[in-house]
C-alpha cells in the first residue's frame, strides 16, 4: 500500500471490515455521518481496485458491498466442517427456477419441474434466506409468488440477477418463457420445418 489512502477511503474500509453484514452505499454514507453517496461510491471504486490483487477482495452483491476472501484461495480456507447447507436436488432446482423466472408462483415452478413441490423445499430456501414471498399474482386464486433475496446474490457471488450464469442465452433461446407461449410461437411455424435448422428454431422459440 504505497500511496496513502484518503480519509474517506480509510473510513469506508474500516466500516466494511467491521460490519457484520454487507452495506449499501446509502447505508455507508449514513453511517459515516451524511457523506455524499457519490463520494462513497468513489471511495468504494478506489478500494475495490486496491484490493483486486490481494488475498481479500471488495465485492458488490445486489447493491451491497462487503469484503471476502479471494476465490482462488478457497482451498486454503475450506473448513473442516462444511458451513454451507447442502441442498437437495429438488431444492437446487426450485431455487434456480425462482432465480431465473422471478417472481414465480408455486404452480409455475411445478409446471416446469413436472412434479409437485413439497412445502418443505420452499421452507428450506426461505430459512436459508435465499427466497422470500414477493406478494401475490393478480390472477384468479391470487397465488403467492416467490423471488430471491439480496442474501441469495450475496451467497452465490452475484452482483445482480443479470449475472446469473447463462441467463441471457436462456432468455434469447426462449427457455425462460412458459411452454404455452413457446407452443404458440412454434405452431405459427411448421415444427417439422423448424427442426431442419437450429437457427430458425432458436429464433422461433425466442419470442
Amino acid at each position: 500500500m504505497s500511496d496513502e489512502p484518503g480519509t474517506l477511503e480509510r473510513a469506508v474500509e474500516a466500516t466494511l471490515f467491521a460490519s457484520e453484514e454487507p452495506l449499501t452505499v446509502d447505508a455507508l454514507a449514513a453511517h459515516l455521518g451524511g457523506i455524499a453517496p457519490g463520494d462513497v461510491q468513489d471511495a468504494l471504486a478506489t478500494l475495490e481496485a486496491r484490493y483486486r490483487l490481494r488475498g481479500v477482495h471488495l465485492v458488490e452483491r445486489g447493491k451491497r458491498w462487503h469484503f471476502e476472501t479471494a476465490p482462488d484461495l478457497a482451498h486454503l480456507l475450506r473448513r473442516e466442517k462444511e458451513q454451507v447447507r447442502r441442498l437437495s436436488r429438488a431444492a437446487t432446482e426450485v431455487l434456480a427456477i425462482i432465480a431465473y423466472h422471478e417472481p414465480v408462483s408455486r404452480a409455475e415452478i411445478e409446471s416446469i419441474r413436472g412434479v409437485q413441490t413439497s412445502a418443505g423445499t420452499l421452507d428450506v430456501l426461505m430459512e436459508a434466506g435465499w427466497i422470500k414471498l414477493a406478494g401475490r399474482r393478480e390472477v384468479p386464486g391470487r397465488p403467492v409468488i416467490y423471488a430471491t433475496t439480496p442474501e441469495f446474490l450475496d451467497h452465490f457471488g452475484l452482483a445482480s440477477r443479470r449475472d446469473l450464469p447463462g441467463i441471457d442465452e436462456l432468455r434469447a433461446a426462449g427457455l425462460l418463457d412458459p411452454v404455452d407461449e413457446a407452443m404458440e410461437a412454434a405452431m405459427r411455424f411448421d415444427p417439422d420445418d423448424a427442426d431442419e435448422s437450429d437457427a430458425a428454431d432458436d429464433e422461433n422459440l425466442a419470442d
Binding site: R89, L95, V115, I167, A186
Partner: protein, 262 residues
Amino acid sequence: MSADEPFMFPPDAGRADADALYLELDGWEGPLDLLLDLARRQKVDLRQISILALVDQYLTYIERAGAMKLELAADYLVMAAWLAYLKSAMLLPKAEQEDPSPEELALRLQLRLQRLGAMREAAARLMGRDRIGRDVFLRGLPEGLRTDRKTVWRSDIFSLIQAYGQVKARTAPRIYHVANRPVMTLDSALERVSAMLGVTLEWMEIRDFLPPHASPELKRSALASSFVAALELAKRGRAEIAQDGAFTPLRIRRLKEGAAAV
C-alpha cells in the same frame, strides 16, 4: 450419485441390479425428471430427441419397475398412460388424428423437457459458483457496527406551568352553584288553590289561580302545579272540575262539605 451423471440403467441392458434401480427411484421425483434423464442419454440436442424413442424407453422402464413390484407413484403411471396414448397416436395414419395432434403433444413435451433441462443446468452452474462459506469467506471476527439511540427530551416553560395549572384546577375543591329556577311547588300550589276556593262557590277558571305578575316561566310552572293541586283537591272531595271540550278552559269550584265528587 451426481445429478449430471446418467444414473439410469440403459433400458435394454441387464446390468442394473434391483438395488440400483430402487435407489434411483428413491432419488427421483417424477416422470418429467425421468424422461429428461432418458432423453439426455440419447446424447442429442433436446430439441431433436425422438419422442417415440423416449416413450419406448419410459414404457420399458415402467414395465421393469412394475415387474419388480415397486410401488410406483401415480405420477409415473399417469405419465405412462399418456405416453402410451401419444405413441399409439404417432403410429396411426395422419388422417385419423384428433386435435391436438400427436405432433403438438410431442412438441409440448419436448418444450417442457428443454425447459427443465435448462433449469437443471442452471442449478448446477449456480451451485458451482464461488459460494460464501465454501469458496469465499467473510471476516471471521467483525467488530460489528453499533448505533446507540439516545432520546433527547424536549418541553417548554409554558407547557410546564399549564400542566401545573391543570393539575390544580382539576384537583381544587369544587363548589356547585344551582341556579334558582322559577317554579311553584305542588305544596304551595295546593295551599294557594285551597285558599282561593275557600272564598267563593262559583266556578273559576284555572288560570285565575295563577300569580298575576309572574314571569312566563313561573306561569307555566304554576299552571302545571295548580292543575295537579286541583286534581288532588277533587280526589279529596273538596273540589270539582269541569271542562266543556278538549283544550277549552278548565273550571274549578268548591264542593260543599259532604257532597260527592263529580
